[in-house]
Symmetry: C2
Subunit: 365 residues, 2 copies
C-alpha cells in the first residue's frame, strides 16, 4: 500500500479579524491540509477540528515522516472520514504553533514574535478563522467533526454557522469545561508562568525556553488523558529498569518515566505560549454563554448531531456528553449518541478507531 503523502499549506488572510477580547488581528495565516477532492457542488466537505495540541496534519505522511498525521486511521480511502467521497480539511487552531498565526508568529507591527502581546483568543475566534478558510474554498455546506477541544469547535460551528453545518460530530468533548478541568489547565499554566526561563513570554530568541514548565503542564495533561485503569494496565507499580528501589529522587516507577518522556517529547514540538493561549480558550468556552442556556444555543442549529463519549473518560465524562444530547433532544434535533466502552480514558478518541469508524460511517450514510 502506498503512503498518502500530504503537506501543510498556508492561507494568508490580509484583512482584520475582530476577536472576542475586543482586539483586532490585522492579518493572519491559516495552516491547513486537505485530503480527497472537493466536488463540483462543493458540498462534500468534512471539516476536522483538532484537539489541544494537535495541528493541521491529520492524515498521511509528510516527506521524511516516520509517523502519519494524528487521525490517520480515521481519514482516508474507505475510512471513517472517507476521502473517496469527502473533501476533508483540517486547519491548525488560531494561537497554535503549527502554522496558523499564534504567539510565536512575527507581529508585523514590530517585526518580532508576538509573545504575550498576542491577543487572548477564544474557541469562537478559532471558528471565525476556520470560516475564512471555508470561504476561500467557496464551500457553503459542511460536516464539522472533532474530538476533545475539536468537539468544542464542532459545537461552535453548528451554532455560529447554522446555514453551513449539516452534520456535526462531537467526540470525547463537552460544551464547557468543568471546574476540575479548568483547575488542571490552571496548574499547567502556572507551571509555565513560573518557569525561570519564561521571561514574560519573550523567550523565542533566548538560548533557554520554559521547557520545564511546559513539560510539567504536559505531564498533568497526560494524567487526565488516561484512565486510572489504563494507567494501571500500562504501568501498575512496575519499576523502571530495576528490581528494587534506588531510594533517591530519580525515576523509580515506570509511570514516572512515561510522564517524563511525554513531557520531554512535547517540549520539542510545542510552544509554551501557545499552551497558555489554547488552554485559556478552552477554559473560556461555554456554548451556552451567549444564549442563556445550552438548549437555547442549539435552537438555531440546522444540523444532525452525532455525539460519542468514552466510558472511562474522566476529563470530559459521559455525563457532559449527555448534557449536550439532552439539550439537543429538548430542541427536537436529530441526535445520535453512543457511549463507547473503553478503558483508554480521554485518549480513546485517538485509539478506539474501529468502534468510532463503525458509528461515524453509519451516521454519515
Amino acid at each position: 500500500m502506498t503512503q498518502l503523502m500530504t503537506e501543510t499549506k498556508i492561507l494568508h488572510i490580509d484583512e482584520p479579524l475582530e476577536l472576542d477580547c475586543g482586539k483586532v488581528l490585522k492579518e493572519y495565516n491559516i495552516a491547513y491540509e486537505t485530503y480527497g477532492e472537493l466536488n463540483t457542488n462543493k458540498d462534500n466537505c468534512i471539516l476536522l477540528l483538532h484537539a489541544l495540541t494537535g495541528n493541521a496534519h491529520a492524515a498521511g505522511y509528510h516527506t521524511g515522516d516516520k509517523k502519519p498525521g494524528w487521525w490517520n486511521e480515521m481519514v482516508g480511502s474507505g475510512k471513517a472520514f472517507d476521502t473517496d467521497k469527502y473533501f476533508v480539511i483540517c486547519s491548525n487552531i488560531l494561537g497554535g504553533c503549527s502554522g496558523t498565526t499564534g504567539p510565536n508568529s512575527i507581529d508585523p507591527a514590530t517585526g518580532k514574535p508576538y509573545g504575550l502581546t498576542f491577543p487572548v483568543i477564544t474557541i469562537e475566534d478559532s471558528v471565525r478563522v476556520q470560516k475564512k478558510l471555508i470561504d476561500y474554498f467557496g464551500i457553503k455546506s459542511l460536516i464539522a467533526a472533532g474530538g476533545s477541544m475539536g468537539g468544542m469547535q464542532a459545537i461552535e460551528w453548528s451554532i455560529s454557522y447554522p446555514d453551513y453545518v449539516k452534520s456535526t460530530i462531537i467526540i470525547a468533548s463537552t460544551s464547557k469545561l468543568s471546574a476540575q478541568a479548568i483547575a488542571f489547565n490552571a496548574v499547567g499554566r502556572n507551571a509555565i508562568l513560573s518557569d525561570e526561563n519564561f521571561n514574560n513570554g519573550n523567550y523565542y530568541n533566548n538560548s533557554n525556553f520554559p521547557e520545564k514548565g511546559l513539560s510539567i503542564a504536559r505531564m498533568i495533561g497526560h494524567i487526565t488523558y488516561l484512565s486510572e485503569d489504563s494507567m494501571h494496565s500500562k504501568f501498575a507499580r512496575n519499576l523502571q529498569d530495576k528490581d528494587k528501589f534506588d531510594f533517591d529522587f530519580n525515576v523509580e516507577f515506570q509511570v514516572e518515566s512515561y510522564l517524563q518522556h511525554q513531557g520531554q517529547i512535547f517540549v520539542d514540538r510545542f510552544d509554551a505560549n501557545s499552551y497558555l493561549y489554547i488552554t485559556k480558550a478552552c477554559d473560556y468556552y461555554d456554548a451556552s454563554l451567549k444564549y442563556g442556556s445550552l438548549e437555547k444555543a442549539f435552537e438555531r442549529t440546522n444540523s444532525k448531531f452525532l455525539i460519542i463519549s468514552f466510558s472511562s473518560d474522566w476529563l470530559f465524562p459521559s455525563n457532559q456528553a449527555k448534557e449536550i444530547v439532552n439539550a439537543l433532544i429538548k430542541q427536537g434535533k436529530d441526535v445520535s449518541y453512543l457511549e463507547i466502552q473503553s478503558s483508554a480514558g480521554h485518549d480513546a478518541f485517538l485509539l478506539e478507531f474501529e468502534k468510532q469508524t463503525k458509528v461515524i460511517k453509519s451516521f454519515l450514510k
Copy 2:
C-alpha cells in the same frame, strides 16, 4: 466551653535508627502531642497517624492559635477519639517539617541542615520512629488510627507490631498507591525539583526558596483531594470578583483563585524538601511487598479492623479499601467496613465528622 490548650513536645532519641534505604540516622527528634491520660495498665492508647502534610498537632489550641489542630472535631471529651477514656498520641512523621527530624533539621555531623543528604525514608521507617515514642511511654497495647497516609501507617503498625495493635482504624486510605496516584506525586515533585530556587535542596539559608514549585505541587494535590462534584458545588464556572472575562493570564475563575490561595498558604507552613521525602515514602509503600501478598501480610496481625472509605474519593477510591477488606476477610480477621456517602472527595476524612464519629465510637465500644 473552654478551649483545650495543647502543645507539641519533643522526644530526642539518641540511638541509631536503621532505615529501609540502608542508611542510618544516628539520632533524631520525635515531635508529639498527647490528649487525655494514660491509665495505670497503659492499655488505653490511641495512636493517631497524620496525613501527607499533617503534624503532631491533631487537637486543641496552641497559645495564640485561631484554628485548632487538624482533627480537633474527632479528638476530645466525648468525641470519636474520646479523651475521657483514651490517651491519644499523635506524632509528626519522620522526614516532616514540624518537629520530627527531617531534611530541614540540622545534621549533627555537619552542623548544617540535611537538605537532600537526608536519607530517603519509608512509611515503615516512620512507624519504627513512632514505636520509639510508644516505648518511651511504656505502652504495649494500642489502637492505631489514621486517614490517607495516616491509614497507610496504621496498616503498617498492625503488620509490623502485631503484639501491640489490638485495633486498627484505616480511613480514606490504601495498602499501596495506584499508578495514577504515583503520577500525581511525581509531577508535584518535578515542579519542586524544577524550581529555579530549589538549588539541589540547599535553600534554607537563601533569601528565596522553591515556593513556586511547592505551590504547584500543592495545587495538584488539592485537585485530587476534592471530587469533581465538590469542585463543581464550590466553584462551578463562577468568575473571581468579576462579571466578565478579563482576557489575560491572571485568575479568571474562582477555582483558579482557590488553588492559588491553597498554594500560597501551603508554602508558608511546609518545607519543599519534606514534600519530596514524604510523597516518596507514600509511593514506595506497598503493604504486601515483604510478604508476597496483602493476604499474607495481614496473616500476622492480631487486630480488629475498621476500614472507612468515602464514595467520592478518587485518590484512594473505595475499591482500594475493599482490597484491604477482602484480604482481611480471607485471613478470617475481624473486619468492619463502611463506605460513607459523601461528595467531599478524599478530603471527606477531614470534613465528615458526624458519620465517622458514629462508626468509630461503635467500633471502639
